[in-house]
């Protein structure tokens, strides 16, 4: 079946070779671990880690006579994900055996879905960027399908000189494989796509999508062609487990294929492995024969069927998704595209922001969350989940500022204290005597002192009124930041004879 062309060639995505321009075509298979307490077909725990073979039932170890029974929650999670991807929900799907031999696959086959997956075609809107101008480009990436399948066990090769060690704790854990259409045209787009899939899964609560734990992995299909020509022959890069590696693998592989073609060669359709240490891909010829998977319907499992009511009930409980949240933040709060993209990138950040913005100035709340909170979290190696400053506390800090109890400068200092030592901003301000000086008499005294000590500058300011900023700075400094800047400004203008 020919693959439909959905994108127009964008010159900025082209790669120039020795003999002209090339366009890279990328499709992705993302494997996400389903968030569930127990495995897809057994009652053993899915918990990460654990003692070797401790989270394993006789079903997961493929003992003779054991039969798989599907976990209904995993089915619901797949349907929720399908709804989140605006995809077709198949009310009837079939599990099939994908046969291959490997020591960490005790059944000798993976239970997967083949020609009748649980979820059909959908679409993901992906924001690519920001570019140097701070602009995002919106692209649409088609979803071909989503299916449920079992994870395999884990082999350790460094425990013994001649033996590999096999732990089946992951064996049988439910995975969702999300297959995209070949709709991406640069490594930037592919990375943004993976990121968006991760965000959607985390919003839905259907996968924690943690790449570091291996809960989100991608296989990358890459081919190159001359702009406007039919798709070229692709290679598949297996098990890329970070965004950075995905980008490196694609860029390397595109360059490699262009090199082969420009030398008059032919790209092999093959499986390749990305080597992060060398930043290159290499052929995995040993896997080629194993590609003969001899799929057939699993006779242990009836077709998976559900009705409309089942889907509608899940739809009714779906949370607000990132695209809808983005739209609402922009229209209700008037936030920029840049700010909204950061805030909606993580559901926990969006929730935090909304709690701070509730009843307050949204733009100001966004600035504090993005510049101060997220900046500090990143520097401290913390996340929004482990933030030492709660949304209520940050909100209270904003209130102190809007009530003119403290100045903006002092607010930043109080935030530093809240972040490093903890505590309620009102208590901190009170205990440390940081309350803004609004007593005009006290400020006037400071203003007079600064003017008296800087006669030369006073002469200049008459010529150059913008120099008032320097005076404001000096008075603020003299007050240790506690003077109300508006009051200082007004007094200075009066005394210096500016309007």
């Amino acid at each position: 079946m020919p693959i439909a062309e959905t994108r127009n060639t964008n010159p900025k995505n082209l790669i120039s070779g020795a003999t002209g321009d090339w366009e890279v075509i990328i499709g992705l298979e993302v494997h996400a671990q389903v968030l569930s307490a127990s495995k897809l077909f057994s009652g053993a725990s899915t918990e990460f880690g654990g003692e070797p073979n401790d989270h394993v039932s006789l079903v997961d170890a493929a003992m003779p006579g054991m039969l798989p029974v599907i976990n209904e929650e995993c089915v619901k999670q797949a349907v929720r994900t399908g709804l989140g991807l605006k995809a077709k929900i198949n009310h009837r799907s079939v599990f099939a055996r994908k046969n291959y031999f490997y020591p960490d696959l005790p059944q000798g086959y993976q239970i997967s879905q083949f020609d009748q997956p649980i979820i059909g075609e959908g679409e993901i809107i992906v924001e690519v960027g920001p570019d140097r101008q701070g602009e995002f480009e919106e692209i649409r990436v088609g979803v071909e399908r989503l299916h449920l399948e079992q994870d395999a066990g884990k082999s350790l090769h460094d425990q013994h000189p001649t033996m590999s060690y096999v732990d089946l704790n992951r064996s049988g854990v439910a995975l969702m494989e999300i297959v995209s259409k070949p709709d991406m045209r640069s490594s930037e787009e592919a990375k943004a796509y993976i990121n968006k899939v991760r965000t959607i899964l985390r919003y839905l609560g259907t996968s924690d999508a943690d790449m570091e734990k291996g809960n989100l992995r991608a296989d990358v299909n890459v081919s190159v062609r001359r702009p406007g020509e039919p798709f070229g022959i692709r290679s598949e890069i297996k098990n890329v487990n970070s965004l950075r590696f995905a980008g490196q693998a694609i860029d390397y592989e595109a360059r490699r294929q262009i090199g082969v073609l420009e030398d008059g060669g032919v790209v092999d359709q093959e499986t390749r492995l990305f080597d992060p240490a060398k930043g290159e891909t290499r052929s995995m010829r040993s896997k080629e024969e194993a590609h003969d998977y001899r799929y057939f319907p699993d006779p242990d499992l009836l077709p998976l069927e559900f009705d409309d009511a089942f889907v509608e009930a899940l739809k009714a409980d779906l949370p607000e998704l990132p695209d809808e949240k983005r739209e609402r933040f922009q229209s209700d709060f008037g936030l920029s595209a840049y700010d909204t993209d950061i805030l909606v990138s993580d559901r926990a950040i969006a929730d935090y922001f909304e709690a701070v913005a509730d009843g307050r100035d949204a733009k100001q709340a966004a600035n504090w969350v993005i510049n101060d909170l997220l900046g500090h979290l990143k520097k401290a190696g913390e996340t929004i989940e482990t933030t030492p400053v709660s949304a209520a506390q940050l909100g209270a800090l904003l209130d102190l500022q809007s009530e003119d109890v403290i100045s903006g400068k002092i607010a930043k200092d109080v935030f530093e204290i809240m972040f490093s030592e903890g505590g309620d901003p009102r208590d901190i301000v009170e205990a440390r005597g940081l309350t803004q000086v609004t007593d005009t008499g006290a400020i006037e005294k400071l203003v007079d002192e600064v003017i008296a000590a800087n006669a030369d500058k006073v002469a200049q300011v008459a010529e150059k009124p913008s120099m008032i900023g320097w005076f404001v700075g000096q008075v603020m400094k003299a007050s240790q930041g506690k003077a109300n800047p508006q009051a200082v400004n007004k007094l200075l203008k009066d005394k210096l004879g500016l309007d």
Partner: protein
């Protein structure tokens, strides 16, 4: 449909079953007999008939998402030819 001895050997290799040339020849005969028997089904006209998945019309049985199994690593590796610290030991497999 029938298989030749090369196909028999390839399928055996995919399943990691060691089959000698003589055995492959013998298996070829047996498999072709089975395939020939199954092929008789092709005589039935099933145009427009959905594949039957169960004799009784029944829905797939489902489990609730509760952890009620595991914690039996001794049993899991109990029959393994080689094990250490509850890991299975297998001949080294590295890509």
């Amino acid at each position: 449909m029938s298989v030749d001895s090369n196909t028999v050997k390839r399928v055996a290799h995919l399943a990691r079953i060691k089959v000698s040339d003589e055995e492959a020849e013998a298996l070829k005969g047996e498999l072709n007999t089975i395939l020939g028997f199954v092929e008789q089904l092709g005589e039935v006209d099933v145009e427009g008939v959905a594949p039957m998945t169960s004799v009784m019309p029944m829905a797939m049985k489902k489990r609730a998402d509760v952890v009620n199994d595991g914690g039996k690593a001794d049993d899991i590796v109990g029959n393994a030819p080689a094990a250490e610290d509850h890991y299975f030991q297998v001949p080294k497999v590295v890509e």
